[in-house]
Every structure is written in C-alpha cells, then in structure tokens.
C-alpha cells in the first residue's frame, strides 16, 4: 500500500510548497484522479498540518498526512535540561490543554522518584485538570462547529473558556501555558476563592452545555454533516492505538481515569460516555457528555479538599535513581504517556512523549476514505488534534 502511494507522489519538498498544488500523473493515477494538497497554512487544519488527498472527482480515494512543520525537538531538549527545567516545555506541546501535560509529566517523575504528592495537592490537581479538560473541549467544539459552518458557537465557547482561564490566572498567573504543577506537588497554595469560583463556574456551565446542544445536536444540517462521517470501528481504533473520545465513540469503554486511576480520580464518581457508531456525531456527543462529567467531578472535588501540605519532600536537586517509567494519563485528547529513562544524573537520559493526537491522526486515512472533500475538514476537526503535540 505504501509504495503504491509513494510511487505516484513526488518526494515531499518542504521548500516548494504552495498552498495549492495540482498533479495529474497519468502513470499511476486513474484518468479522473488528481492529487490536491491542503497546505500547511489552512484555516481548518488547526495548526500546520499538510494533507495530501487523492481525489476521484469529489471522493477521497487516498490520503497522506505530512507532519513535522511544528517539530521543535522537545524530546531532545529534555536530555539537556534538569527535570524541573523541562517542566515548562511540556506545556507547549498540547498548548490548548497545558495543565494536563504538566500533570502527566509531574506524575511520571514522581513515579520515577518514588514519591507521592500529598492528598491536598492531588485533589487540587484533579480540579484544575478537569477544568482544563472542559476548556480544551470548548476549543474543540468552537472550532469544529466553525469549520462545519456554524458561526456562533465558537464565541459562546470562548466566553465560557474565559472564566476557566481567569481561574488559572488567579491560581498560577498564566492562562495558557500554565506550568501549574511541580514535581512532588504544587508550588502555589490554592487561592482563597478557588472553591467558590469553581463552584460558580460549574453551576453556570451545566446550562451552557445544554445551550450548545440546542443549537447543534438535533439540527438537521448538523446531523447531515456529522452522522455517518468519519466512521471508525472499535477494532480498527484499537489496532491503530487511538485513545480518548475517538475510541470511546466507537463503543470501547476505555478511560485511564478508571482503568489506572491517578491523581484523585479514584475518589470520585463519574461516568465514561461511550458512543455506538464511531462517527463524527458520536464523538461530538461523547465530548459534550465528557464536559458534563468533568463539572460533576469538579463539584464533588471542591466539596472536600483535604487540608495539609501541598508539596512532598523532594530535594531541590532531583537525581532519580537509574530506571525507566511509563506513566499515562487521560488527557482531553486521549492517552498522554511519558516514558522517562533516568541514568542517575540531574538530567533525564531520554524523555519520550506519547502524544494522543499523534496516534489518533493515524486514524485519519481510515476515516476519510470514501468521503467527499468537504468532509475532510469535519474529520480533521473531529479528531481534535493539536499540532504542537503531534510534532513536539
């Protein structure tokens, strides 16, 4: 399959990319088939993603995603920074959900060190991570709806996200790349109003989710654009290694928060929404329901934040014993894994990050075959990829 693809395509020449390019090669392609390029700069690829589509008329026959436009060498940088110095870098990977990135990394290093964050830190981490999940899903919803043509939900979503970002700013001083957590716990004590702000936000938000649903869920046009589009079955998803809402919408009930609980997730009651058909509509419903479940978790968490220290006893200079650890969390986009190899020095030997978007993007080819060009944009949106994470 791959050499069939490669023999017809030109060698990817990053320097000569125009936004629009057309190849009609009669050797490999059929008479009506053309290859078009959705360039790195495109309003709907949510970052610098290049997609080569082989079209037969309007139908997509084959596709190829070309990534790497945002590669910054993060994993290589990790080998030359101390463990604490590297922590702000992970925020910049999935820049839409920086708090979860930080959570995964801090917990991985804590596992390596063999320490556990104190209970109070874990609960506050859970609250902030769940708020970040809501914020990430709001960005997804707004941009996905915008790509499909609904011009209004994005403004409503960003209005709610503003409240969450205000909470983050009050907590750690930053809205987007928060660096909220530290290895061993938290640096900043929760500010006084945190519980009140979160409670007010969560109570407000329940109604807002219902508002978004009235605008989209039973809308005939939305149904027509999302039902049956980008179908992937459960087996295929597992074979590709997809995680997160992608796999849950195909009917597989897999959530790391339930399967291998971390932070304080084992203390709270919440459901894992699953879909049935594995199409875009199911992924939309799954993410909407996840937002509701996150508010549920937050409300439970703020009832009972334990008192106590926020930081475990870790030294200023971190020298974990030689060894390796793989720690995965359920980031908003899927399973975010950190594989850290330590050689006993202050700098890790290797940090390998398993980004959810990178693996989920591999499902793109399966999802897009047989659909029309107009659906490509919807399918990229429904995968909820962030190129910072895909390319690192």
């Amino acid at each position: 399959m791959t050499d069939f693809l490669n023999s017809g395509f030109r060698k990817t020449d990053l320097n000569s990319d125009a936004n629009i390019e057309q190849n009609v090669e009669t050797t490999v392609l059929g008479a009506d088939e053309i290859i078009i390029n959705m360039g790195p700069q495109h309003p709907s690829t949510h970052g610098v993603l290049r997609v080569k589509l082989k079209l037969d008329g309007e139908k997509v026959v084959d596709s190829e995603c070309i990534i790497g436009y945002l590669h910054r060498g993060v994993e290589k940088i990790a080998e030359h920074r101390t463990y604490q110095q590297f922590a702000p870098y992970v925020d910049r990977m999935d820049y839409v959900a920086a708090v979860s990135n930080g959570l995964g990394y801090c917990e991985a290093i804590e596992k390596l060190l063999g320490v556990e964050a104190p209970p109070r830190a874990r609960v506050i981490r859970t609250i902030l991570t769940e708020l970040q999940r809501i914020a990430s899903h709001l960005v997804w919803l707004g941009t996905h709806a915008l790509d499909i043509g609904a011009l209004t939900p994005i403004f409503y979503c960003f209005r709610e996200r503003e409240e969450i970002l205000k909470i983050f700013e009050k907590y750690c001083g930053a809205r987007l790349t928060t660096h909220a957590f530290r290895i061993g716990g938290l640096q900043y004590e929760a500010y006084d109003e945190l519980e009140k702000d979160t409670e007010r936000f969560c109570n407000d938000f329940e109604h807002k989710v219902d508002e978004y649903e009235t605008l989209l869920t039973s809308n005939r046009i939305w149904l027509g654009r999302t039902k049956g589009i980008g179908v992937i079955s459960g087996e295929q998803a597992i074979a590709i290694g997809a995680t997160g809402p992608v796999i849950r919408a195909s009917g597989i009930q897999w959530d790391i928060r339930k399967a291998a609980p971390y932070a304080a997730y084992d203390q709270y009651k919440f459901d894992i929404p699953t879909g049935k058909n594995g199409d875009t509509y199911d992924r939309y419903m799954v993410r909407m329901e996840e937002m509701r479940q996150s508010t549920r978790i937050c409300l439970q968490a703020i009832q009972n934040i334990p008192t106590g220290p926020i930081m475990a006893r870790v030294g200023k200079v971190l020298k974990p014993p030689p060894g390796e650890v793989y720690h995965a969390i359920e980031a908003p986009k899927g399973e975010l894994g950190y594989y850290v190899v330590s050689d006993g020095t202050t700098q890790p030997y290797r940090v390998r990050i398993r980004p959810p978007s990178f693996v989920n993007l591999q499902a793109f080819d399966t999802m897009v075959k047989g659909h029309l060009v107009a659906d490509v944009v919807a399918i990229i949106g429904t995968l909820d990829i962030v190129l910072g994470e895909v390319d690192r």
Partner: protein, 445 residues
Amino acid sequence: MVQGLYEFFKPHLLPLLYAVVIVAVLPLLAGYVVLLERKVMADMQARLGPMRVGPHGLLQPIADALKLLIKEDIIPESSDKWIFWMAPLLSVTAGMLAMAALPFGPVFQIAELNVGLLFILGISSMGIFGIVLGGWASNSHYSLLGAMRSSAQLVSYETAAGMAVVSAVILGGTLSTRGLVEIQAQKHIWFFFLAPIGFFLYLVASIAETNRAPFDMPEAESELVAGYMTEYSGFRWALYFLAEYTNMIVVASLATILFFGGWLRPFPNSSWANLFDYVPMLLMLLVGGYSLYRAPKQPVAIQKMVMVAVAGLCFVLALALALPQFASAGSLLASMKPGLHGAFWFLLKVGIYLYTFLWLRFTLPRYRFDQLMKLGWHFLIPVSIVNVFGVGIAVYLSRSTDEGGMGWSVAASVALTSVITLLAAAWLAKKGEHEPAPPATPESV
C-alpha cells in the same frame, strides 16, 4: 427644437431621476446592510461589532469603501484581463438592472413592464455569468471549481424560486410587479396568507440564490478554496460584494412585493384595519423614545450625542409620517400619504426579510455541496410543483360558482391545499432522510 427635445425626453425624466437615485444610493445602502450584518452577527455572538470607526461603527462602511478603493489592483498574470475586468461588472449590472422593474412605492418605479416579474428572474439568471466568468478568468483551478459549484447551485434553485413565484402569480393573475401589489390591495389581503408555503419555498430558494448561509459552501472560508472571488482584491472584490448584497435586496424586495403586499399595510384598503395606519409613526416614536432613554447611559459624550441625534431623526420621521395621516383629506399633505407610508412599510418588510437572512446565517451550519443540490432537486422542486398545483386548486375551489369554481370560502380552500402540500413535503423529507451518507469504504490497515 429645444421644446421638441424636451417633449421627447419628458416621459423619461422621472424614471431617469429614479434610476440616478437608485444607482447613487444603492452602494451606500449595501454598505450599511453590511454594517447591519456585522452588528447583528456581533449581537448574536455576544459581542459588540464595529464600534471604533465613527460612533458605534456608523462610519465603518465608508472607511471600508475608501480602503478598498485605494488598494493595489492585483490581476493574476496568466488570467484573461478583459474578462477579469468584466466579470464583476456583469454581476453588479445584473443586480442593479433587476432594480429597474421593482416598485418601491406607489410612484417609485423606473420601468413599468408588464412582464416585470419575468424580467427580474431573467436578469438574475444573467448574474450567473458574472460568477462563472470571474471564476474562469482567475485562471486558478480552484476558483473555477468554486465558480462552477456556485453557478450550479444558482441554476438549481432558480427553478424552485420560479415555481414559488408562479404560485403568487396564479393568485395575482398578472406578471407586472405593480399589478401584483394592486391586486393585493384589491383583495384586501396579502398573498402570504393565501400561499404561505409558496413564501417559505421562496425564502429558502432565495437564500440559495444569493449564496448565503446555510447555502454558502462555494464561498466558505474553511473550504479548500474561497470560491470564485479568491483572486479578486480591492475594488473588484467590493463590486462582487456589492452585487451579492444588491441581489439580497432584490430578492427581499421581490418577496415583499409578491407575498407581503409591497408598500401596503396589513389588510390594505379594509376600513376596519385603519388602525394600522398609526403603526408607522408609533413605531418611529418608540424607536426614538428608546434611543433617548439609552442616551444618558452611554459611556462617552459623543455616543450620547449620536443617540440623541438618532432619536431626533426618528422623531422627524415620525412627524413626516404623521402629518399626511392627520392632514385634511384632499390636501397636498394627504396626497403624500401613500408615498410616505408606502415607503415605510416597504422598507420595514424588506428589513425584516433581510434580518431573517442574517439570523439564519449565524444560526445554522453549512450544507455540504451534494446535500445542498439534493435538497434543491429532490425536495424543493417537487414541493414547489405540488405547491403550484395546490394554489391553482385553491383558486379554483374558492371561485364563486357562477365563475365556474366551487364556491368554497378562501380560508377553507387555502387550508386544504396547504395541508396537502405539507403532507407531500413531509413525505419527501422522510424519503430523503433514509438515504445513507456517502459510504465510507474503510480498508483494513
């Protein structure tokens, strides 16, 4: 000799004046419709819209027009320059020409054609050329694709729009636009109440005709191309934009004339509904009073002044509308009443129709192109044909027996035929739903 020339031109002077007014006012009006759209869009999206340029953004259209005028004129190198130059002109000309047959009031009409309706439909179909040639002249594969799609969409929905118009023509018995309004005045009822389904069909078809959302796939920003307008920048693009908004105003005016009585008030000519004559001035007083009420609450002094000025303008308009109403019958003032009130009602209805366009644009997502075509051909055209049958049967049923009809009441015949048409539409919609989405062919990886 001068007298002879004057006599030759005299019957053409007034239409010429109207034409000059329309050509001069229309770009300004279209610009302010754009501003209105941005403000309404902002309102629905929980934000404010243009606020900086001029108080409350009121000078925004002028700033935009100036900017577009002084922009560099970029012409793609391998394009056909002559056609590239001509295509936007064609679109604008078609739009403005259609205005010639529209009566904006009892006296304001450039050309009283007795096939006025067909003229407007025909000139609108000439506007397709502007799009197709524009796409082709850009010499870009994707502009051409977008232009083809756009024109295919226009052609498909023209049939449905035409059929919806036919249902109003059956009721009116004439193709002349002024004649249709006068028949509505005679019958004391707007055609909307006699052919409601026809109106909704025309509403949907006109949204597709003007390439507005949810039918704006060919010019959507998140698609592969920006459509036929991609290569146009500066004033040429402004001409296309002007053409689009002119088309919107034309279809809104046409819908008003056909279905809402043009310049007539609700229940025209019925003496029991004379209360409606007070609505224009009351509405203006209301708007003026509200502006005055909001004036002290504005944060900045200049905005306060603008609100007071707006209130003043509304009060002046209310006075202008009230004077002919209360003047003694037969005087000069009273004779201005149909003109002034007519203009008010016409603009009010066109404004409501345009507001519906804007409302739908910001609420609904976009149809995919094949879904759009399916909706046009598989749903709208059959329903509009059934609607024509329905209206014809309703007219036959409600005609009195000595004229060869069945003598039913108007309400009964309209109700019966509307129900039948709605059943047909529901059946078609249900049939369309069961068609599967384009089959995905997932291959095992």
